[in-house]
């Protein structure tokens, strides 16, 4: 396998992204959106598209830059650091990968050019469980009627198109439908991380055979790699936010005095901060490895991806909990950014499978 070190190209990409995001989408940007009641900044996304981020996983002949999963994870990791909010994961990672598996060139071109924003509608209940999909796609003449509901559709409120996982006669099928289809009702959620997620209700929504992504009754062969890519990128975003929260905390320890001394001199805090750093180092390896494994074979990266996701969830939780505690009272105030990190970490912990889900995957693959 490729080395577990960033390539020069990846390092450059990270630096470029960091420069851009620090300027265009620092945490204050998310705060401004929230205070204005906005869930999306179209200008920011246009800039990302212009930099080629939307097409990072799309072949060059469909207008993308085809830089691979590791590169996508590099971007996600940087986005996590500043809590940049954009449809990058739903659109450029998850939808692009699914559509690429299905060879849907036109749809990919629409993503790379910024014409389409996608959301993935997969969950129906509080927990990630694709195999339990109940939304029905009933054959109706030459087409299908979709009935049911979807929950926790990230970016569902701003997407033009939705990839919907539905149950068909012989299995599960993935449909690519317009977000404004007749019979499709979108209800915005009031999300704690101030990003967008929606509940979708399908009432006789019409779809045709052309809307099927991949093959009927075989959603998983296009969706499984797309989920893996999304999980890896989300893990990358999560370790990004964890390291940023840790860096804020370590800086604070050095600034803050109490009882007449710098609190960085308190051994108990030193040891806890050091432990947190160790955890971030170990998770960073798992995230890097997930990108590499996907680049090698996106259909056979489950262990690597679940490992990254599980570790990232655990590490970020520790980072934000320690972050608030070590900041003391001011860490609890909305004025301070730590709360934004804590909220994003919680959402990231649930999206695309929680710790228990990924731990089970790992246990299964390790034979116990």
């Amino acid at each position: 396998m490729a080395k577990l070190v960033r390539t020069e190209e990846e390092t450059m990409l990270a630096e470029m992204a960091r420069g851009f995001l620090d300027d265009a989408a620092p945490v204050g940007h998310l705060r401004k959106l929230r205070d204005a009641g906005e869930i999306h900044d179209p200008v920011l996304w246009t800039q990302m598209v212009a930099m080629g981020w939307a097409g990072i996983l799309i072949p060059e002949d469909a207008g993308g830059s085809d830089m691979g999963f590791s590169a996508a994870c590099v971007l996600a990791q940087e986005m996590g650091k500043t809590l940049a909010t954009s449809p990058f994961l739903s659109t450029a990672v998850i939808a692009a990968t699914a559509l690429r598996q299905a060879g849907a060139t036109l749809a990919m071109r629409a993503i790379a050019s910024g014409q389409s924003i996608y959301a993935l509608a997969i969950d129906e209940h509080a927990k990630f469980a694709p195999e339990n999909t109940q939304l029905m796609a009933t054959a109706d003449g030459n087409g299908f009627q979709l009935n049911g509901h979807k929950a926790f559709v990230v970016d569902g409120g701003l997407a033009d198109r939705v990839l919907v996982l539905a149950r068909t006669d012989g299995g599960l099928t993935l449909f690519d439908i317009a977000a404004n289809s007749a019979g499709l009702t979108t209800t915005q959620n009031n999300m704690i991380d101030s990003r967008n997620a929606a509940a979708l209700s399908f009432d006789n929504v019409a779809a045709t055979g052309d809307d099927i992504v991949g093959t009927i009754n075989d959603a998983m062969s296009v969706l499984q790699p797309a989920l893996a890519a999304g999980q890896a990128a989300l893990a990358a975003e999560t370790i990004g936010l964890a390291t940023a929260a840790m860096d804020m905390t370590v800086s604070y320890l050095k600034e803050r005095s109490q009882f007449g001394v710098k609190i960085s001199s308190f051994q108990a805090l030193q040891h806890r901060a050091a432990h947190l750093w160790c955890e971030t180092e170990v998770t960073t390896s798992a995230v890097l490895n997930a990108g590499r494994a996907l680049d090698e074979n996106p259909c056979d990266a489950t262990l690597a991806v679940s490992l990254a996701k599980a570790r990232a969830i655990r590490t970020a939780k520790l980072a934000v909990v320690e972050g608030v505690q070590m900041h003391g009272g001011i860490g609890m105030t909305d004025e301070f950014d730590m709360g934004f990190y804590m909220k994003r970490a919680r959402v990231a912990a649930e999206w695309l499978g929680d710790y228990g889900y990924h731990a089970e995957q790992i246990a299964r693959l390790r034979g116990f």
Binding site: N190, I192, Q258, F259, Q325
Partner: protein, 386 residues
Amino acid sequence: MLDITDPNAFRSAIRMWLDDNCPVEMRDGQNTPDHICWGGKNWAYESDAQQIWLERASALGLTVPTWPREYGGAGLERTREKIYREELARINARLPLQSFGIWMLGPALLNFGTHEQKETYLPPIARGEIRWCQGYSEPGAGSDLASVQTKCEDMGDHWLVNGQKIWTSYADKADAIFALVRTDKDAPKHKGISFLLIDMAAKGVSTKPIRLISGSSPFCETFFDDVKVPKGHVVGDVNRGWDVAKYLLTHEREMISGGGTGVSGGRALGAVIADAYPDGLTDTSLRAQAMDAEIDALAISLTIDRYKDQSLTGQGTGHASAMLKYMGTELNKTRHELIMSANGSDALDWDAGLAAPWLRTKANSIEGGTSEVMLGIIARRVLDLK
């Protein structure tokens, strides 16, 4: 009724009195902040029943059952107080009144106040007429509560106060504040502090609410700008306010630590999980963590009982409050993490009502003495590690 000393007879009398006097609407067990009767000059009663219940209870001193009768209490010693509380719980009654006056200022005055101060301040607290708030913390001080910067100058016939407090709960709703102020800036840190009572309506006092990561909060910043305070408003000796503060910190810790057990306040974790997973929770990782937390909740709850029983038998409980504060608040954080996890993506919507309490618990291990401070106290005072 309050003169009955035999426990069983007292229990019967209380039970009968409650039957007759506690309005049915007040028997819904709602003791959450939203339903607390805080009292005060501007108090808007939630209902007639709330007002009647306060009036009837305070008439007998049962808003502050252990305070002496001369100061508005019922004069119950611990055994009968416990019986009274058990009977309240039996009919699921709300407490007639809760306030920082009852929890904190009252105990401080009873221990450190002059007879005149007690006569002046205690009865209005007991009747819910004056609402107090607490002014200890200052910006930048954090756990170092003794690093008080708010200046209190002796102007001969009055004190002049200038400075700022933070984390003053309900300062915007309170009638008065008990605050730590610095009366001697040259003395060693702990030796120049006084415990001062200030009218919130006095000229120069202003407040500003603090927004938390969990949303709007009862906390305020409170500013003192050339505030004049009568000389007699110091509790305890001038420059010895730290003794009063230390005494009260213990009370505050006891208040905060109960939260995690699912006994006082929140529902038991097991019940929450059972609700979310009527067919049983099969996720290995979450279930294992829930088991651990439920085990801790039950055992901490028993420890609270044990310490209460120890006090009743006259045995000291050492630095039990620091221990319960630490264990209780850490557990409460874990418990709310698990409630969030158990409810998955449903919990990620503010409107589900789970996220705000979850985030709010993160402050439990900071307010009233951080977990680190508690561990330090235990290490030094219980284990003699220094």
